[in-house]
Each structure stands twice: as C-alpha cells, then as structure tokens.
Amino acid sequence: MPHDHSDHDHPHSLLPSDPALRVKALETILTQKGLIDPAALDEIIDTYENKIGPKNGAHVVARAWSDPAFKAALLEDADPVLAEMGYYGRQGEHMVVVENTDAVHNMVVCTLCSCYPWPLLGIPPGWYKSDAYRARAVREPRKVLADFGVTLPEEQAVRVWDSTAEVRYLVLPQRPEGTEGMDEAALMSLVTRDSMIGCGLAAAP
C-alpha cells in the first residue's frame, strides 16, 4: 500500500540520485529477478516512438471534416466509432470528442497528473505535463493560448476540459477555410497535435 514516508525513508532514495542511473538500476534488478523482459521494453518504446502518435487523431479529424454522418456518430458516442478505426487502447478506453465552433473553443488539460488520449495522440508533449500548463490552463486559458501564438475572437467562449477521471478528450478543431476541395489525406496534413488538444488551430492550406 502506498503511504506517507518521511523524506529519508522513501525507498526510492536508496537508488542513485542521477535519474539515468536510477532507471538503469531498476531495470537491472527487475530483469535479474525475472520481472521484466528488456525485449518487452524495446517493444513498448517502439510502439510510442514509431507506431502510435498524432497521425491517428488527425485521421479521425480529417474524416469528421469530410463525412457529416461519421462526425455526428463520433460526437454522439466516440468509443464504438474509434474502436472500428482501430484506435482503442491503453489511456483511450473512454473517449469523448468535443467540437470547436465559432461560439466555443475547447481545450484539454489534466491538472492532477497527465491524462491524455494515447491511442489517438501518442504520449503527451513535455509542455502538457509541465507544472505551468497544469496550473494555468484552467485559470487563464487565453493567456496559455497566447504562449502558442493563438488569439481567439472575443465572441468565442473557452471551455477547458480537466481530465480528472478515466475519460479522455480529443478536440475536433474547426476546418480551415479554403479547404473545400481537399480530400481526407490532404486534410490530415493540416491537423496538428496541438489543435487536437485545443492549444492550436488547424493549419491553413
């Protein structure tokens, strides 16, 4: 059971203070004990470095921009729609997609830790996990958006979703103007990761 330790008796303080050595020591002990397989670690790393990332989310967004029936189903109940596309998995078991409109701009944060829709966006960027983002996004989202170079019109309200449970949120950004003739593949290239967190807008064509 996790419980409070005083400063000096946290077991982690027995490990080397350098974090790289700390990880190495844990990996060594756990491997010697037969509790982890280094090949499984390589597989996990390969998954999040190369296989699962914001392209998945961009695929969903581009399809929603192109297909009104798909978009309606996605906004109504995202889980079965995403599962059918193969985007179900760890840290994306319960998805809600929220749509940006002329009236509302959505943003996603996890003030308590770093909850994030991994199957659609991969692992979160450093800033998403930073104290500054976690502290400020709920109180001054517009100033945070300014850090990303985004200024919203006065008539657009901001809705910040704090991921306090196991529900993960994906922002459906507004489709940029001038993209009427573009197909799904071309649209995908305009969908940035930050736009699906609500800290950016989709790129102009």
Binding site: P11, H94, W127, A132
Partner: protein, 224 residues
Amino acid sequence: MTRVHDMGGRFGDGPVVPEPEHVKFHADWHPRALAVTLASGSLGLWNLDVSRHARECLSPKDYGRFSYYEKWISALADLLVDTGALTPEELAKGQSDGPSDLADKRLAAAAVAGVLAKGGPATRPSNVAPVYAVGDTVQVRSMPENVQVSGGHTRLPAYAAGAVGTVVRLHGTHVLPDSNAHRLGEAPEPLYAVALKARDIWAHPEHPEDEVILDLWQSYLSAP
C-alpha cells in the same frame, strides 16, 4: 487539504513552452523509464489509482524538483518495495538477491501489443443509481480530500471545491479512485462531466462566458 500534485489554478508558474511534434522524449533514459513503469504495472501488483497515489505521495520537495519521469521511476521504486516485489536491500545494492516468484507474470515482448491495445476500462456495473441528469445544478464537495482515508487519493481538485455547476454529461458508472487507490474495492458509481463558470471559481476570470469542465463522481456532488 490536498497534495502537491493538485496545482490547477496555482499562480506563479512561467510560460508554457510549445515543442515540435517529432520530440517524443527529452533524454535517452525517458523512454526506458516509461517502459519499465508500464512493464512493471502489468505484473498486477497495483492498479492505476494506487500508482497515481504513489506519485502523489512523493514529498512536495521531491515532487517539485523531480522531472516527470523521475516522479514515475521514484514512485515505481516505492511501489515495488511496498508490494514486496523488491527489497530495500536490493535497491540499495542495485543487484537482485534472487529470482522472484512472480516471474511467471512477466510481460513478454510478444504480449506487449495486445496488452496496450486491450487497455483497462474503468467502467463497471454499479448498484448506485444516478441521481443527477444533464442540466441539473450540483454543488461540489467543499473539502477537496478523500473522506474515507486521511491524506488519501482523490480526483477532486481544490479549485473546484464548493463550486456550483451544471451537469453536462453522464459518463456511466466508473471505478471510484478514492476507494480503489487504497485497495478498499472499486466501489463504482456514476461519473459526470460538470461545467463550472470561470467567474464562479476565479476572482479574475478572463472572459464572462469561459468554463471549466471536470469529471466528478456522484459522491463528490450534492444538490445545492
């Protein structure tokens, strides 16, 4: 009172620094820390809520100075000792004293894709019936802390405490972290998305129409 991790609304932090999409990790040991943590989690010695609470139980001094993955790896070491998977002596030596009897639970490389794809849903059947509906006005508990366990885990951020808001979604019935983090049972109950007006929770809201929406369990709420 909550713990050091509960920083929503805090003043004094600097700018948020954007970074390009191709940056996945900031040091060679970061992916290793991620993978060791995920692989250890699959031994089944703790649940997600227990592991979150372990990170939150880092001392405020350590929580503040540790980088993200240092928190993970430090909490992991604490959990491995707390659950008896490793001994403090092994940690101190950096060497194992012998094979573990849990080795048959080890995550195999061939199983990784399946485990990650399978995930771990938090929805459960519950005999707690929802008492609120979309559109209802609710009040958030005024004390942002675990009511069962002193200093225990909760997902009720301090900034929302006592606020009056509106139910905007019912998510179904979900495992209650306040119970599950302490191995007191999953205690599933209805989970709601509740919208709070920025002007009701901040003295200096940026815009009169801005809102913060949180996911809150039924036991965090009451009728005002």
